[in-house]
């Protein structure tokens, strides 16, 4: 029986002029590893989960690549794809208006916002995933990011389904001002409720994770993991260097640094991630009846996105 969690939007790809398309055109058969400079056959890189076969460098993943690697094929059902950014401050800087920047980013990235949420299965186990996309304005956390994550957490709490968040982010989105900052409070409050319902939250810190995301839901999860070499911090290294005039120690703010200082539970290679998540889910399933499979009052929105980037997101204040 299809759980109510599984209903929702099937992903409708946006038309895109993303440079990633260029990577697939004939002639771009090779990718160069930024770490060891090895030339890698693109298909080999994809087959190796975008990990350099020579030096083990974990390439950054787009959100949908991550979801594809993490959940069982065909199991992912996207949620709240129709929740789209607005421009509450009518923000603009010398590079243009925020609303224009949003449209350009939407066309370029093929996404409407920086966070993708939805339901899927990991080797048959139910899970809700919330994955940020660093290619969308540095996966900065604005109103939509916070709202989609909060909705996901609330549904997880009601349905008893574990949550996995994958968190790469530059921090709060400056263009939405204090609305962005308050998403830290909003998501942490939702996580507190998830905890009251005794539903586990697994956080994968992904490269790079900074600012408001590091200082909110991502670092208080029940299990916090990171891939090798991932950079995680509150303040960015350049800011720290400028202000303290100190040379940063080798390996500063890497996953290994965080592990050494007791800030994360463990480091996992990308190839072991899915299996590890499945094992964690099994532990919680044994001690606590997660995924009770009950229907929940949430009414899914079955309307489809029209597959076209919005002209201008109309500010509609939700209260």
């Amino acid at each position: 029986m299809r759980s109510i969690l599984q209903r929702g939007d099937k992903f409708q790809p946006l038309p895109t002029d993303d440079d990633r398309l260029d990577q697939q055109i004939p002639g771009d058969l090779w990718k160069k590893c930024p770490k060891c400079s090895e030339l890698i056959y693109t298909r080999e890189l994809e087959n190796n989960l975008r990990v350099c076969p020579k030096c083990g460098n974990h390439f950054r993943l787009r959100a949908r690549e991550r979801i594809e690697q993490l959940v069982d094929p065909g199991s992912f059902v996207e949620w709240d794809a129709e929740v789209r950014p607005a421009d509450p401050l009518e923000f603009s800087d010398p590079s243009g208006a925020y609303s224009d920047k949003l449209q350009a980013t939407q066309r370029k990235s093929g996404e409407y916002e920086a966070l993708i949420t939805g339901f899927g299965t990991v080797d048959g186990r139910s899970i809700v995933v919330a994955v940020s996309d660093f290619d969308f304005l540095g996966a900065s956390m604005g109103s939509v990011f916070g709202e989609k994550l909060t909705r996901a957490m609330e549904r997880c709490a009601e349905a008893g389904t574990p949550l996995m968040s994958v968190n790469a982010s530059g921090g709060a989105r400056m263009h939405e001002g204090l609305f962005s900052l308050m998403q830290m409070a909003k998501t942490v409050a939702a996580f507190a409720r998830l905890g009251e319902a005794r539903v586990p939250h697994i956080s994968l810190l992904a490269d790079p994770c900074y600012g408001g995301v590091t200082a909110s839901y991502a670092t208080i999860a029940d299990v916090i993991i990171a891939e090798p070499g991932t950079l995680v911090g509150f303040a960015g290294p350049r800011v720290i260097e400028q202000i303290t005039k100190q040379k940063l120690p080798d390996g500063f703010q890497t996953a290994e640094f965080l592990l050494e200082h007791g800030m994360i539970d463990f480091i996992v290679e990308r190839g072991d991630l899915k299996r590890t998540v499945a094992e964690l889910l099994d532990h919680y399933a044994r001690v606590h009846q997660v995924d009770r499979g009950e229907s929940i009052p949430w009414q899914p929105n079955l309307a489809r996105s029209n597959g076209v980037a919005p002209k201008a997101a109309k500010p509609g204040k939700k209260s």
Binding site: R84, P85, A86, L89, F91, S92, D93, P94, S143, G146, E147, A172, M174, E176, G177, L178, F179, S180, L181, M182, Q183, M184, A185, K186, V188, A189, A190, F191, A192, G211, G212, T214, A215, A218, T219, I220, V232, G233, F234, A235, V239, I240, I243, T244, Q246, P249, F252, H261, M263, Q299, P300, N301, A303, S305, N306, P310, P315, G316, K318, S319
Partner: protein, 297 residues
């Protein structure tokens, strides 16, 4: 009004109210940062009696950039916590300019739990450029410390009132500011990043901070209109020129907010209602569009 920015100390001679419309957001940033503006301990010493400062996070150290302890406010015992800047350079260096390290947030969190244990309301004063960016702070988990403080505030079963008295610097401010009531002085500012940092990133020039301050909508008036702040406490004269008047106005506003919250708490299942209201208070914040209406309400 501009000259108020340059005057350092309180002058009793001319305290003529000035039209606030004359002030730009950048003027307010400068007023909010003014060295002679009253800081947390000024409020604590005037508004409360019997303040006993409690120190340390029981883990690593005591951060002088955050002060806190038990105090008496009218007929109530409260736990008060505040960022603390210095009134002069020497003191400012000791207080790290009000930039908090992880041990400061962990001290604040400990004091909040203390308040919850004894059913004591919490009052916080917000006045910080932001959490300290530094090697040691990163090593000791600056992000985690802020996140844990937020988590504690999200579920703290006692009323919390926060007052933004000067500079509300991003996550470092929010870390002790996730309150049931958020009050803000008229010339205080509260921003997701400092105008200088925002200008450096988006304008590629930190010198464009005044423009950034304009665009970022960081004034009390803006934040009230966004429903993020509950009440703006007027400053007919900038706080550093009218210290006592400002402090007593803040005291009145805190009193009213606490009275309202205690009224909620004193009812049957009042704490549950308080928790519900706090959740909703932050739950509703955000602006977005939904391309298609949700099928069912």
């Amino acid at each position: 009004m501009r000259r108020a920015l340059n005057r350092r100390s309180e002058s009793t001679a001319t305290l003529e109210p000035v039209e606030s419309v004359a002030l730009t957001p950048w003027d307010r940033v400068k007023l909010a940062r003014h060295q002679s503006r009253p800081h947390s301990l000024d409020y604590i010493n005037v508004l409360f009696t019997g303040f006993i400062e409690l120190h340390g996070d029981r883990l690593f150290g005591d951060d002088p950039a955050i002060v806190g302890g038990l105090a008496r406010f009218g007929d109530r015992t409260i736990v008060v916590i505040g960022h603390q800047k210095g009134g002069d350079t020497r003191e400012n260096i000791r207080r790290n300019f009000g930039m908090v390290r992880p041990e400061g947030y962990r001290k604040a969190e400990r004091l909040m739990r203390h308040a919850e244990k004894f059913g004591i309301p919490v009052v916080t004063f917000i006045d910080t450029p932001g959490a300290e960016p530094g090697i040691g702070s990163e090593e000791r988990g600056q992000g985690t410390a802020i996140a844990e403080s937020l988590l504690t505030m999200a579920g703290l079963k006692t009323p919390i009132v926060a007052v933004i008295i000067g500079e509300g610097g991003s996550g470092g401010a929010l870390a002790i500011g996730m309150a049931d009531r958020m009050l803000m002085l008229e010339n205080a500012v509260y921003a997701v990043a400092s105008p200088e940092a925002c200008a450096a990133i988006l304008w590629k020039d930190a010198g464009k901070a005044p423009q950034a301050a304009e665009t970022m909508r960081i004034t009390a008036e803006d934040l009230l209109s966004f429903g993020i702040v509950d009440e703006v406490i007027p400053e007919l004269v900038p706080a550093h020129e009218n210290t006592h008047g400002t402090i007593s106005a803040v005291g009145d506003a805190v009193q009213r907010a606490l009275d309202e919250l205690m009224e909620v708490v004193d009812q049957p299942s009042g704490l549950d209602r308080l928790m519900e209201q706090r959740y909703e208070r932050f739950r509703r914040i955000g602006v977005w569009s939904e391309a298609l209406p949700v099928a069912a309400e």
